[in-house]
């Protein structure tokens, strides 16, 4: 049975991610150790909380360089919600904090007359990503990436304007929504990433 490594820098939501991976037949293990993250075949970077707290946690555990390297090399990485945002350059949520800078974008606050946070199920148009079908995904976000970043395949969601739902490059898939909470559609997305990345993992 294959192991998937979850970067566990915060309390929140890790249990849901682990449970979803178990339902896909994987063994999740959690770590904050940079060597383990570097060596892992497949890594999940979940995230709930503020951009600053997320980056401080990564920095304090020495995880920033290994995650950056992995994402830039296109090695298997599934980033979820804040995890996606941390891959960007910066965020309006936490001025002065640098993100991993792998995605050439700055994270913006959801604006206009919208309810914030965006809590609930919204449609995802899969665009040119490897996500198999359009569907409904569960969101819990106050910030977003507004424009599809250059060099990434991109799925989108309408919330006021069109926002980035997920982006993909190599074996890196970063979702603004929570696939682990998106019912059967989300489970299929996770299973798809697992099966695609299995072939890129040296056995």
């Amino acid at each position: 049975m294959s192991t998937v490594t979850i970067v566990s820098t915060g309390t929140a939501n890790i249990a849901s991610v682990a449970a979803a991976l178990r339902r896909c037949g994987c063994t999740p293990r959690t770590t904050t150790n940079p060597n383990e993250v570097s060596d892992a075949d497949r890594v999940v970077l979940p995230g709930v909380g503020s951009f600053a707290a997320g980056m401080e946690a990564l920095n304090s555990h020495g995880l920033t360089p290994v995650l950056r390297e992995r994402a830039e090399a296109g090695r298997p990485l599934l980033a979820i919600c804040l995890g996606l945002q941390l891959l960007c350059r910066s965020s309006e949520e936490s001025p002065g904090f640098s993100g991993l800078g792998v995605i050439d974008s700055d994270v913006r606050r959801l604006s206009g007359e919208l309810r914030v946070p965006q809590f609930g199920w919204n449609t995802v148009e899969r665009g040119d990503t490897s996500i198999r079908t359009d569907g409904y995904a569960y969101y819990a976000n106050s910030y977003c990436v507004a424009e599809p970043p250059h060099g990434w395949r991109c799925a989108t969601t309408p919330y006021g304007a069109s926002i980035v739902a997920a982006i993909e490059r190599g074996a890196v898939l970063a979702c603004q929504f929570h696939p682990e909470l998106s019912g059967a559609w989300g489970a299929e997305l996770i299973a798809g990433w697992l099966s695609r990345t299995e072939s890129s993992v040296a056995c």
Partner: protein, 252 residues
């Protein structure tokens, strides 16, 4: 487009689902894992578990229940009841809750909301407000401790303060309507919706899809219901189909 959410609520005590009107006359209503699974299958958008245990042993059981439900559930899970500290919230989140609901303890000590939001994020913090119409004046006041305490605190002002302090969602229960089947308190929803930008989950009083439509029109983003689903009078799926026929965006 963001859809309206239908959220079945499980009142859980000592590892079993219970039901009763206003927490009186509780009787056994089944296994929480089986019910949560069934609701997800029927199309529920989220599950709320409300721990109504009265004892510390019961609270321990609640975390075990959350863990068991989490292992089968692939939609969001909110857990409330008896959350008084960061440690309480952390226990439930570690067990598999995605959001925690805080109620009486936040009224007694509003800083609790900021403490939780700064450590686990706004997205994980639900302020549960039980609101009752004032007896001698207009408006609503917050009631706590399962309705036994009328606090005198204005429910609308309290919601605004909770938003400021870092709550990410409001679970708004009408104490006057809860368990009556007379419909959600739409005046309360209208007033609350105008006073906050947070999403509002309406609770208390539903006996069918027409009540849910009224709640959405009054500003609710999600509706919570317990007895109509437990009794098998209708399924989540049939409710959603009816809402869709009436032009409400739901996830089908």
């Amino acid at each position: 487009m963001l859809t309206r959410r239908i959220i079945p609520c499980l009142d859980v005590r000592d590892g079993r689902v219970v039901k009763g009107v206003r927490f009186a006359g509780l009787r056994d209503a089944g296994d929480p894992v089986e019910q949560a699974e069934r609701y997800e299958r029927e199309g529920a958008d989220e599950i709320v578990i409300l721990d109504v245990s009265a004892t510390p042993e019961g609270r321990e059981t609640a975390a075990v229940t959350v863990e068991s439900v989490r292992s089968v559930l692939s939609i969001p899970l909110t857990v409330g009841g008896g959350v008084r500290s960061f440690a309480d919230a952390e226990r439930l989140l570690s067990a598999g809750a995605d959001k925690v609901g805080v109620n009486s303890a936040a009224v007694a000590r509003p800083e609790l909301l900021s403490e939780l939001a700064s450590r686990v994020g706004t997205q994980c913090v639900v302020i549960a407000i039980d609101a009752a119409r004032r007896n001698a004046a207009s408006g609503w006041e917050v009631v706590t401790h399962s309705g036994t305490t009328r606090t005198g605190v204005d429910a609308i002002e309290w919601a605004a303060q909770a938003e400021q302090r870092g709550a990410g969602e409001i679970l708004l229960t009408s104490w006057d309507r809860d368990g009556t089947g007379e419909g959600y308190d739409t005046d309360l929803l209208h007033t609350m919706s105008a006073a906050t930008r947070l999403p509002i989950v309406a609770s208390g009083g539903a006996s069918g899809p027409s009540h849910m439509l009224e709640a959405f029109e009054a500003g609710a983003h999600a509706v919570l219901a317990a007895s109509i689903f437990h009794d098998g009078v209708m399924t989540v799926g049939s409710v959603k189909a009816e809402l869709a026929r009436n032009g409400t965006e739901v996830r089908l």
